[in-house]
Structures are given as structure tokens and as C-alpha cells.
Symmetry: C2
Subunit: 452 residues, 2 copies
Amino acid sequence: MNAAATHAVLSAHPRASLDEAERQTASIDRSGYVPPSFADGVIFAQSIDDVVLAMKLAHEHGAVIVPRGAGTGLAAGSSAQAGQIVLDMSRMDKILHIDPVEATALVQPGVINAAVNQAAGEHGLFYAPDPASTAICSIGGNIATNAGGMWCAKYGVTRESVLSLLVVLPDGQLLRTGRRTIKGVAGYDMNALMIGSEGTLGIVVEALLRLRPKPKHTATLVAYFPDEDTAAQAASAVIAQRLTPSVLELMCGKTLKAVDAALGTEHESRGGALLLAQTDGYGAQLEMQALRDAIAPLAGRIELAKDAQEAEALIEARRQAIPSMEKLGTASICDIGVPRNRLAEAFAGLHRIQDERGVSIFTIAHAADGNLHPIIVVPEDQSITTGAPKAALGDMFYLAQSLGGTLTGEHGIGRLKQDWMAEELGETSLDLQRRVRAVFDPQGILNPGKAI
Amino acid sequence: MNAAATHAVLSAHPRASLDEAERQTASIDRSGYVPPSFADGVIFAQSIDDVVLAMKLAHEHGAVIVPRGAGTGLAAGSSAQAGQIVLDMSRMDKILHIDPVEATALVQPGVINAAVNQAAGEHGLFYAPDPASTAICSIGGNIATNAGGMWCAKYGVTRESVLSLLVVLPDGQLLRTGRRTIKGVAGYDMNALMIGSEGTLGIVVEALLRLRPKPKHTATLVAYFPDEDTAAQAASAVIAQRLTPSVLELMCGKTLKAVDAALGTEHESRGGALLLAQTDGYGAQLEMQALRDAIAPLAGRIELAKDAQEAEALIEARRQAIPSMEKLGTASICDIGVPRNRLAEAFAGLHRIQDERGVSIFTIAHAADGNLHPIIVVPEDQSITTGAPKAALGDMFYLAQSLGGTLTGEHGIGRLKQDWMAEELGETSLDLQRRVRAVFDPQGILNPGKAI
């Protein structure tokens, strides 16, 4: 039944591929989840018409479509299996227009995050949401997960930087959400509803992004602490001092060791945990001085970046944290959020889980947002979605919950975190959300089994 | 039928009033719209249980409920008439808890916006969305309209400052949206869906607000220009120079005259239009110098506020703009948004409309957001919802549309702007939104005829 439907679509679409290698690649993301089988085919969209045709055919035949951007998702949100078709958006990767006066960029969904930033930079602008994977992740995927990043500490997440979307609905109709203006309240916030919906409500084919003025000045500091609990206390002190850093990142000692091994740096010799902070704007230096004063009583060594190059090297060390761990084995990247003043408690809890489950946990955190990425690394040949790693993932959720937090700050639910959704949202909310989903996709053909 | 239903609810609810004066007051907001009749009764909620009971009774009997905050709406979003019951939330006005470390406030919906800011201020914090009506508008109403204000130029609108809501659904069930953490992406963004929904999806009974660090320093400037077109060009120059003022307000010459008459100030003698700008943060003075440089070629007189008192007087003049006009007659307050670099074109269009329709238009604008409030003032005894004022309102929408803009930046659709919704959103979007509404309120008992 499913196979008949998918093959009817694949045989009718001019951009479809049945190539085995392509089917396999398109069925897996960076979450470590290995699907039990691979998608029946891949449609490589090159235009809005390609997407409309794919959805019209799927709608007609009742075939399941799994949308996919750059495949860098960390929650198996775009993983696919037999009986499904992957709709690959990575070839729709153009920046269509940058309006330097209005500070907006109109882009296709497959464009790489860093490419938007590079193009914006030529006009003295930047695009704020900057996942660590900026060099390889796509804007469409960022929108699907409401992605965050380092600069979100000051500038908000993807939702705050997307003005309008052009979306292909599950029946092939086109929907425009949001507006071209900064503010607007006509009707419900369909734009926000689409952002973070993990490809379950429609397929983004164009996005109007809000760019921001590149800060005139920045100041960057790295501080080393005896351990991560102390670093977490220092991060809370920054918030309590009413400072607004543009970056406030924490890396645990084990992460420093992994980064040192991968990049040849020497962070671990300087302390058991690191805090990377950046301030920006006309008062960047003054605010950094205040930040330094706030953390000094807790810190060991503190280093200010002398120039942009040194600052970039520090930022890059943070960006390379996950790739560095991936060199040690298969990584399961957790993404819990807690209130910002409970970071130290979160670290204490993670130590407990590490000991009790006998797993190896590396932790990095967007400290100003209370968003932690505890990363479980297992040998290449072991599964991360069963046994102790899975149990530890559950423990982390209950830890976050006990601290008033959430299962996922910025990576999404995908397939990996389904088990804890009802407990986080409650049945009333989940039931409403399922019915909202059915308004958009009554047949259930768009990315079933993901998100809610 | 309607009357039977409403009376069944009113007779069963211990907080119901049938008092004629109360029914009349509760049926009208500040939009100038006069309903053809008044609500059958008013329920003055004092607790969550009161709201749950009201909705359970309404659900059982099929009675229409119109939620109401402080009644300061400008789009007749909480206007009511015969066959309807007003659910007045103004007595649920407590600040339940402020967490000074986490920088959050848990409040009831009836609390006045300025009261939140005052309480936050004691901890070095502030609540960013600040409608001009801050002294009289409630947080519940702010949430219903996704209200903006002056500081939104830098800090975003209500949506960016509400972390979580407790909502009573149309059938009396309780729903919690959002989360206590800064970031979170589990499930659809039900929080954003609720914000700006004008009381059509549920009734907010508790809100967890995000507070922000009160800026260490501010700098405030007022500049006078020969006319509003030049002031608009200056505002666009500020944006083009990549500055990020926390306030950038424009007032036209007629508005200055009205403010002078009401407050005894002398703005009009100094220029034909005014720009009020504030910068904040550790670099406030430096950024203000850059802002001054950007506008100087276009400005006449420029004055820097010498101290906080002078700055507050300037801000207050802007806040008093609408009350000053209301002394001249009945005001119809339009709320269009345009891309920020098209402000001057918007003013040219408003001049045309004024001439063609023979109406008197006063304009103030949140210039950094491209959000204009052209205000039509007619003598007390004339209607603003028919004839030339209504036609002018339509003209303004088409003007905004022709510039790539929107019908409403921050006041909402309410009853007043229904006529242009389909043209702004398109049938596909409107149809989806109606079906989303039906998921929450299948009976259509919550604020029918408003918003979408």
C-alpha cells in the first residue's frame, strides 16, 4: 500500500531518484539514529514548482513525504524509512535578494546558514541565529527546528529573525505567513506556528529573514574555572549582574580535552571548565569590564582576546566542540533547558547520571539561555538509541523537568525524543496540537512520527 | 436563543452583574466604536475558578463570552452587544511573584502594564513592551493584541517577552503554553499562537513574563525638522547607519500642536515635525553621538536631554499624544506598518488621503519599526466608523498594502478592521486560521466576529 503510493509519486516526478546510495544518505541525519530501512526514493527539488508537484502527487496518492534540508538535524527529525519519500531541499540554495536599507534577506530554504551571514556581512549586517553547525546547516532546517546558537543570548532564536515564509502545504497549495514589516498582528501568528514545526505542517520554499546591524565593537574573553559547577555559578553571576553578553558559552573539562585533541589547543591545562563571553555594541569594552568583575571572584585564569583573530579562534573552538567529540565515537546530543539560575544544579545532576548509568557525558552550554548540551559518546559500534545511552537521555529529561526546565531548547523532538513529549506538554496541549496538525495535514502524509 | 443562553449563565455565576451602567461600560473600548446594543451582563472574575466556571457554563449553554481587560483596546476587540456576556478580567490584577535572579514576573492578566514595570524596576529590571497607554492598559490585553510600544524598536513586542501562559479554553479546560526557560522547542509554538489572538482561542489567567536588565545608561535626544517627510528620511537614515536606538518616535506638526495645547509645551514653535530618540546600554552616549551625526544634515534644532527628568518629560509628551488628540474630538486610531525605508512615502500618501477625503489626520510613528498611527479626529457628535473616516481608514490600508505593508502593526483587527482581512491574508491563510480557531472553539462562543 505504502510502496504503491510512493512509487506512483516517484515515477511521476521528474526530479525523483531511486539510487540506493542517495536513498541511504537521505534517510539519515546527524543524530546517530539509524532507521530500520531506507526511504523508497528521493526527490531533489530545484524549484517551487517541483515542491508543489511533489505534494500534489503525494496528496493524490496518499504517499508519505519527509522534508530534508542539509541533513544536520540532531533529533532524527528528517530520518526516513521504507514506505516514505525524502523531499531534499538542499538544491534550492540561492540568496534571492538582500535589501541593505531594510536589512532583510530573501532566501531559498537550502541556503547554508554561514552563506547568509557572509552575504549580509558585505552590507554591515548579520543573521543572528548561528547554530554551531553554521558552516553546514541550512536555513530551512533552522526554521524547522527554530534553531538557536551562540548569539541567541542577546538576539533571540530563529523565530525572532524570520519575518515571512512561503510554504507549500500538504495538499500542494501555497501559503504565505508573516509579513515584510518588522511588526504586524493581522490574524494568528502562523509564522511562529510554522517555525519549529519540524516539517510537519508544510514545506518552506522561501524565507524573508531579518538581518541586524553588525556590532560596531565586540570584546571577547575566556575564563577558566576549577570545575564546571564553578563556571556555572559564574554564568549565573553574569545574569544576576544585569549584563547582556552576546555570547556566554560554557565547556566542561572533558570537552576541553576533546577540543584540544582535535585542534591542538591547550585549554584543558588551564582549568577544569571554560566560560567564553562576548559583549558587543558601542559599550562593548565597558560591559566586558563589568562582566570580568562579576566572574573574577570565581575564576582562575582570565584572558581577553587581543584582536578579532584571537576572538574568532575562541569562537571556533566552541564551534568545533561537537565535531571533536564525534572523533571519539558516536555522539548522542541532548539539548535540555533549565532556568538560568539552576545551571549548577543541572551540572550536579549530570554527574549523577554519568555515574549511575556508566556513560561518558561531555557538556557544553549556552549559559545565558540555560540551554545545555550534555553529549553522550559511545564507541562507533554501539547504539545510542537503546540501553544505557537511551536511559541516560531519559534521566536528563527528568532532571530538566525537576528543575523547571524542558526536554529540548533548540534541536527539536524529531523521532528521538517522542517518549517524553506527553509528560512535558500534558495531554490537553498535545491533543490540541495534534488537531492543529490535522488542520494542515488531514491525511498525515507530512513527516509522520516526528515532532508531536 | 442567545438571550436564554446568556441568562442561564448569568443566573448561575456568583460574580455576574446585570447592572445597566456596568453592562454599558463593559461593552465599549477606546476605539470609538459604539456597539448597536449592550452586553446582557458582566462577569467580574476574581479567580481562575471564576473563569473556569464561566467557560464551563458558556460551553454548556452555548452562550457567547467576550473577554475584556482594562478596556483600552483601539480596534473594538472587546466591544460587546446584546446576546453576549462580558468576562471582565480587570480584578485579577496581582503580581504573584517576581524572580529577580531569573528575571521573570508571574502575573495575573488584569495587572496594569506600568505596575509590572514599577515592581520590576525595584530589582533593576524592566518589562519591555510599553504601549503609550502603559498607565491604564492591562497585561492580558497586551497579550491579546501582541502589543508593542516605544521600546519595541530594540526589545521586540509582547511575544518576545512572554515565556508561558496559563489559559482557560472555551470548554473550561486549563492549558499551559510555553515554558519557564528562555528557549524551548518541544511541540508547536502554542504560546505565540495565543499571543495576538484577541481573546478568540482562550482566556489568559496567568502569564510568566520575561524581564530585561534595566539599561545602565540612556541618552535621549529630540530633533525638529521642517516637515514630517524630512523627519521620516532622518529616521530611515538612522536605520541605514546600522544604529539600534531603543526609542525612535516621530510626531507630525499637527500632533505637536495638540500636545502643546494639552501639556503647555512649545514643540510646534520649533519645527514642523519631531523625532524622539533614545539609545541605551554601556555605549549609550557614543551611539547617540553617531545617531546625531546621522540625522544632523536633515534636522533643524537638536536638543539632548540633560538628565533623566528631561528625558522623561520628552517620553511623556509622546505618551500624551493620543490623549491630547482625544481632547479635540473622537479619534479613530489607525495602525499601519510599512517597510522602514518607505516611511516618507507613507507620509506622502497620508497627505493625499487627508486632502481627498477631507478628514483631519494626525500622525505619530514608531519609526524604527515602520509602524505608523495616523489618527483621524472628528467632532464628538460624528461617527468614525462610517462615511469619510471609514473610507479614509480603507485608503490607509491600501496605502500600506501598496508599500508592502500591513493593516495593523500592534493594535489588532478587532471588529473595526474586518473588511480588509481577506485582502491582507489571502483566502488560503484565512481558511486555515478559521479551522485552527475551530480546533480551540468548535462552538464559536469566544469573541465571535473579532480578529479573523
